[in-house]
């Protein structure tokens, strides 16, 4: 039990835990992307920038308004969500009838603009954000020190993912959402205001990204590139999970986090590429993704 595949067991367990933490971020971000793609058919490349905005809003609330981490968890998703809804109303809503590519280009452009604005005002070196006092410290698990905050990230991400899934699968609102995805005109004929629902869904997906941003702020320094670093991987996660599949996005997010963590032990140099290799294999074998419906 001391060694597994020539790797000391404590090290392996440590890596599994760390993989889950990274997976938590992948899951939360890919969840938002999947919801948006499912209903709006928009490949939202601005998701990374909005994640970054979530972290920045948390930083601003602390430094300009004196509001700490817990307030940020509440307010940042609301603020960024409203910003997202404005984006949807102003720009994205004009593209629903066009090819996917236009939405992709538009949101990519928006991402560059948002990032550029933040880089201009806050520079690129990153701003520190302290871990809240209640979550300071670490648990000694024997095989590793587990910082309390990172444990919190996994738990919080699980709660948020589960809630989103329940809302979409088990509530009336979720039923409308799913129905509108299948056949928007029919749902509209029943008296549901579909355009408003679409706007709210985009806002909701964006709020999830912002929430992930707040969770990430104390771990990574708050900097304008933090979204770019993550978004490509998250897209791969969504593609592997199956575009538009919510459960798929969450499960794949956590799984790939763990796979990446293990790669860091066996072949560190490949840890940045392993997810894309998996993506290529999945696309060859199951073009609709692991959980997608062909």
């Amino acid at each position: 039990m001391d060694e597994i595949f020539g790797i000391p067991a404590p090290l392996l367990f440590g890596q599994l835990l760390l993989g889950l933490i990274n997976g938590a971020f992948y899951a939360m971000l890919s969840l938002g992307l999947a919801v948006i793609f499912g209903l709006l058919n928009i490949v939202n490349l601005a998701h990374g920038a909005l994640f970054m905005m979530g972290a920045f809003v948390a930083w601003m609330l602390l430094n300009y308004a004196g509001l700490g981490y817990w307030w940020a968890m509440l307010l940042s998703p609301v603020i960024v969500g409203l910003f997202g809804m404005a984006l949807e109303k102003l720009f994205i809503s004009r593209l629903y009838k066009l090819d996917h590519l236009y939405g992709l280009l538009l949101t990519f452009g928006l991402a560059l603009v948002i990032e550029g604005v933040f880089r201009n005002y806050y520079g690129s070196s990153g701003l520190p954000y302290r871990i809240p006092d209640q979550l300071q410290g670490a648990w000694d698990l024997g095989f590793m020190f587990m910082p309390v905050y990172r444990g919190w990230v996994v738990i919080a991400a699980l709660i948020f993912c589960l809630t989103t899934w329940l809302v979409i699968e088990k509530t009336r609102l979720g039923a409308y959402l799913r129905a509108a995805t299948e056949n928007a005109p029919l749902v509209q004929a029943f008296g549901v205001n579909v355009p408003r629902m679409v706007t709210l869904t985009y806002g909701g997906g964006v709020a999830l990204a912002a929430l992930a941003g707040v969770l990430a702020a104390p771990i990574y320094s708050v900097n304008p590139q933090m979204g770019t670093n993550l978004i490509i991987v998250v897209f791969a996660v969504v593609v592997i999970g199956g575009m538009g599949s919510i459960l798929g996005a969450v499960l794949t997010g956590f799984t790939l986090g763990v796979v990446e963590g293990l790669t860091k032990v066996f072949w560190p140099e490949a840890s940045a590429t392993v997810i894309f290799v998996i993506m290529a294999i999945v696309l060859l074998a199951r073009p609709a993704g692991l959980f997608g419906r062909a």
Binding site: L11, Q15, L18, S124, S125, A138, M144, Y220, P268, A272
Partner: protein
């Protein structure tokens, strides 16, 4: 007015003629202008080390030098830490924009790529920001000077001191590109020479790694006494922060940050950084001359921070280069990069930031290196008072001996 096909062709032809004339015109005006191109990372993980501040201090030197019969123009570009972007920019600068000297170029992979371009085109190249000692070793060029530091000097000073302090087993966390490899190689040599052992290492993808926790856990599992951080910039500060978060330092593991800048200490905060040792060839609070220099230029830098080793290096490199140009005349300086570099090698360097130095045949500038320790918060007397001097390595001993680098220029 409608645009006929004929008019369109005619205007295109006129446009093309102008486009052809424009460079000639520019070149005619440029005959008496020396163009210096500062190329560095202006938006990525190294941008806060040099970036816009590096450009600002190159300009400061050009202004201080004044007009001695020719004008100086300082251009800037962002190489995004990509070797292909860097070498393209260098070619464009040399072939199209008439740049006479390329300066700074941090990120060793890019630094080496630009080294090739300047050697091919016979243009002067003063590398300040890159660390790899290969620039004056196997890949040395008659057109290149390596200005303020290199991996050998860092390894000898920080690595040597750490082993002497009892850190005799090492594990490396290495940025997976030319710089990280060179720094790990040079440090491992010193560790072994001093009787220490290297127990293992990981190479982390560059750029783009922000989470080092799993590499740190591997380092801890190796039971090495020292974790050598063969990386720089945000990679290093992330490693140090996360090592504290995962309780490594509390368990008695020592971190050797092989390349740190004062800006890194500032970003980490003294609370986290205290006790770390680091090697520099410039510190703003070193002596009266460095303090005077700092007061003179700091208004040009982001939030009035003092210059660091790299930005001060840009300043001193531009001064020395312009002295050589003034000495040999602009036409001769423009004609051959090798000739300017040879002239620079023939003159001792002298400026407020680094004092006196000289340049060896292999292109290595020789200056003392200083080993510092980061002060405890209560020891600091003011803003940016972060470092205390532990030890000085004299110029002749700070760098790799001339005959050990394998530079072909030395044999000839």
């Amino acid at each position: 007015m409608t645009l006929t096909r004929r008019k369109l062709i005619a205007s295109a032809a006129v446009g093309a003629t102008f486009a052809q004339c424009a460079p000639r015109l520019a070149r005619a005006q440029a005959a008496n202008t020396i163009r210096i191109g500062v190329m560095n990372d202006q938006s990525g993980l190294y941008s806060y080390i040099g970036g816009a501040n590096g450009v600002a201090l190159a300009r400061a030197a050009a202004e201080e030098f004044g007009n001695r019969g020719f004008t100086v123009e300082v251009l800037q570009a962002d190489h995004q830490n990509k070797p292909d972007v860097g070498s393209n920019l260098a070619r464009q600068w040399i072939d199209r924009d008439g740049v006479d000297m390329i300066l700074d170029v941090p990120t060793s992979s890019v630094g080496l790529a630009v080294n090739q371009v300047c050697r091919e085109r016979d243009k002067a190249y003063i590398n300040v920001g890159s660390a790899t000692s290969d620039l004056t070793g196997a890949q040395c060029a008659p057109t290149t000077i390596h200005w303020v530091y290199d991996t050998y000097m860092l390894a000898k000073s920080t690595g040597g001191a750490t082993v002497r302090a009892g850190g005799d087993t090492w594990f490396f966390i290495t940025a997976d590109y030319a710089f990280g490899h060179a720094l790990e190689r040079d440090t491992a040599n010193f560790v072994r020479q001093a009787g220490g052992r290297v127990l293992g290492g990981v190479r982390t993808p560059f750029p783009g790694t922000t989470d080092f926790s799993s590499f740190l856990l591997q380092a801890q599992a190796s039971r090495a006494k020292v974790i050598g951080l063969a990386n720089a910039g945000q990679d290093t500060t992330n490693c140090i922060k996360q090592a504290a978060e995962f309780g490594l330092t509390r368990r008695g593991v020592k971190l050797a940050a092989l390349l740190m800048f004062i800006d890194d200490v500032h970003a980490l905060g003294q609370q986290t950084a205290q006790g770390l040792v680091m090697t520099e060839s410039f510190y703003w609070d070193l002596n009266d001359r460095t303090r005077a220099f700092t007061e003179r230029v700091r208004g040009r830098l982001t939030d009035r921070r003092p210059p660091n080793m790299v930005t001060a290096g840009n300043y001193s490199a531009v001064l020395h280069y312009l002295k050589a140009v003034a000495d040999m005349g602009v036409p001769a300086a423009k004609a051959s990069g090798t000739a300017v570099i040879n002239r620079m090698k023939a003159m001792p360097t002298e400026d407020d930031a680094f004092g006196r130095g000289e340049i060896r045949p292999d292109g290595r500038r020789i200056i003392p290196s200083y080993l510092f320790e980061v002060k405890k918060p209560e020891e600091s007397r003011g803003a940016w008072d972060y470092l205390k001097l532990l030890q000085t390595t004299p110029a002749e001993e700070a760098f790799r001996p001339l005959n050990e680098g394998g530079c072909p220029l030395v044999r000839s």
